[in-house]
Amino acid sequence: MVAVKRVVDYAVKIRVKPDKSGVETQNVKMSMNPFCEIALEEALKIKESGLAKEVVAVSMGPSNCVDTLRTGLAMGADRAIHVEASRDLVPLTVAKLLKKLVEIENPGLLILGKQAIDDDCNQTGQMIAGLLGWPQGTFASKVVLDKEKQVATVDREVDGGLETLCLDLPAVITTDLRLNQPRYATLPNIMKAKSKPIKKFTLEELNVEIKSDLEVVQVTEPPKRKAGVILSSVDELIDKLKNEAHVI
């Protein structure tokens, strides 16, 4: 099972709304979160190598989530689940909703992107693993599954280098940038995706406590740096660094 999120496209230069209530998302290009694409790609590779029967994509939010799910289906997911929610959900609520879906669907592996590039939280994967009592392999740059032994060997990108863990399945994996290169959806697959099923759930049906213990007070622009200067020689640079900036 792969959880995917619809976010502002990574190349867009975002603007903070003048009323400081948030970031402008109207009329702005939206895409599947890059880390979620990598998660989906990994799931598809696992299925193509014969180690999984099915890939189910899940997304939570308003009706435009369906666009993201269709992209996932076009990439190759077999079916999708849309949990309808009209307001923003904190990661803990998303994790609790995912737990319900896991209980319904019984996947052998849950893969998520390590963070969403809008809120940059980097929490959901770890939380769902905790709620399920499953082992977690976060920031994965390589995943090797052993179906017989029912373990996943995961290389993780950590501060000190590359850490290798062995996890008993079922497990939660969150993907880092170098895990794979996501495929593009081909036109025939985009057409096929239109007839793949998307099951809808409402929040009431899943009967999960909606956590609301975080309140956004305001969203502001970061302080702007003073404009710099273009210098004309290395000598000038060394002089400035030494005598003006006093850093060398």
Binding site: K13, M127, G130, Q136, G161, R178, V229, L237, K242, V247
Partner: protein, 353 residues
């Protein structure tokens, strides 16, 4: 009459108790140790705790096994004046900082200690463990905090640091945070404390919930041996991008870093191309750095890279392309060929003192 008096008294006491409870701040810090010492990064979490409230007794939690753990605990007890207690969890389960046993440990210690705040530094340890523990404690954590505006109000970057979000935590204790070490610098340790330091006590692990522990096993950690200072805390960072063209060429960056006593950084493109290992990556999803001097060679300045270094005090950029976005954040820019500029710098820079 008598009834009313009793009820009045009870409600007054209740009011006093709840005011006292809401004002009383106490913090649990999740710390890392290595080779018998506390990791410098962990002390940023202590610095953050001090900025939450003046009266904030701090308990430092360490886990591991054996003598290096005990050594680290002793050093921890005298390393910062805010630390009033060092808690030590000594067991083979903690030989490596795995999330599963650590989350259970945090749950155990929190339920026993009733802290109002739990803080970790936002490195791969804190990022991996804190949210799992938060889920077990059923609270929403606030991650990657860069500023604290009171016991329950925090500022954190969103959209790769292109916006700052001020959030208020309105839930039950504990309020759990991970903080960016570059935003909470620690003053240099000035030797042993007069007061004699904090008390050290062993955590009773007999009731540690075993479920989910053992399902993950550490195999190995591959890291590059280096004499360079730690990227996350270095005073000077020299970064190379894809324009270096090869791992062999990247040695020029290393030479320059050596001359400046600097750490070496890299862009995602350079890591993807295999010039350097992943732990040198600076950016939104790599390391966040804020050195005194950041020098970027052959770096275009993509949004995601800027997210990792735009809080540096002085930024220098060298790039052949005068339109490269990096020049918009650089204090000093040089439009030129890095293959000419770096050798010239190596020749002309003063030797480091």
């Amino acid at each position: 009459m008598a009834c009313r008096f009793i009820v009045q008294n009870l409600s007054k006491r209740h009011l006093l108790h709840s005011t006292f409870a809401s004002r009383s701040v106490s913090t649990l810090i999740l710390a890392e140790h290595e080779g018998g010492s506390i990791k410098a990064q962990s002390l940023s979490a202590v610095a953050a705790a001090s900025s939450i409230s003046e009266d904030n007794p701090v308990s430092l939690l360490l886990a591991g096994s054996g003598s290096s753990l005990q050594q680290a605990a002793e050093k921890a007890a005298t390393c910062h004046h805010s630390i009033s207690q060092v808690l030590v969890a000594d067991s083979d389960k903690f030989a490596h900082p795995l999330a599963e046993p650590w989350a259970k440990l945090i749950q155990l210690v929190q339920l026993k200690g009733g802290y109002s705040h739990v803080i970790a530094t936002s490195g791969s340890f804190g990022k991996n463990i804190l949210p799992r523990a938060a889920a077990l404690l059923d609270v929403s954590p606030v991650t990657d905090v860069v500023e604290i505006n009171g016991p329950h109000q925090f500022i954190r970057p969103i959209y790769a640091g292109n916006a700052l979000c001020t959030v208020r935590y309105t839930g039950a204790n504990p309020c759990m945070l991970s903080v960016r070490s570059t935003s909470f610098p620690v003053p240099p340790i000035s030797g042993d404390l007069k007061s004699g330091g904090a008390s050290i006590s062993e955590v009773d692990l007999s009731t540690l919930d075993e479920d989910s522990i053992g399902k993950s096993r550490f195999k190995k950690l591959s890291s590059e041996e280096t004499d360079r200072p730690d990227l996350g805390s270095a005073r000077v960072v020299v970064t190379g991008g894809r324009a270096l063209k090869s791992a062999e060429n990247f040695k020029m960056i290393e030479k320059l870093a050596e001359k400046l006593g600097a750490a070496v950084g890299a862009t995602r493109a350079a890591v993807d191309a295999g010039f350097v290992p992943n732990e040198l990556q600076v950016g939104q999803t790599g390391k966040i750095v804020a050195p005194e001097l950041y020098m970027a060679f052959g770096v275009s300045g993509a949004i995601q890279h800027l997210a990792g270094m735009k809080d540096s005090k002085v930024i220098v950029a060298v790039n052949k392309d005068a339109d490269a976005p990096i020049f918009q954040v650089a204090d000093y820019g040089l439009v030129g060929d890095l293959f000419e500029v770096i050798p010239e710098l190596l020749e002309k820079l003063p030797e480091k003192k």
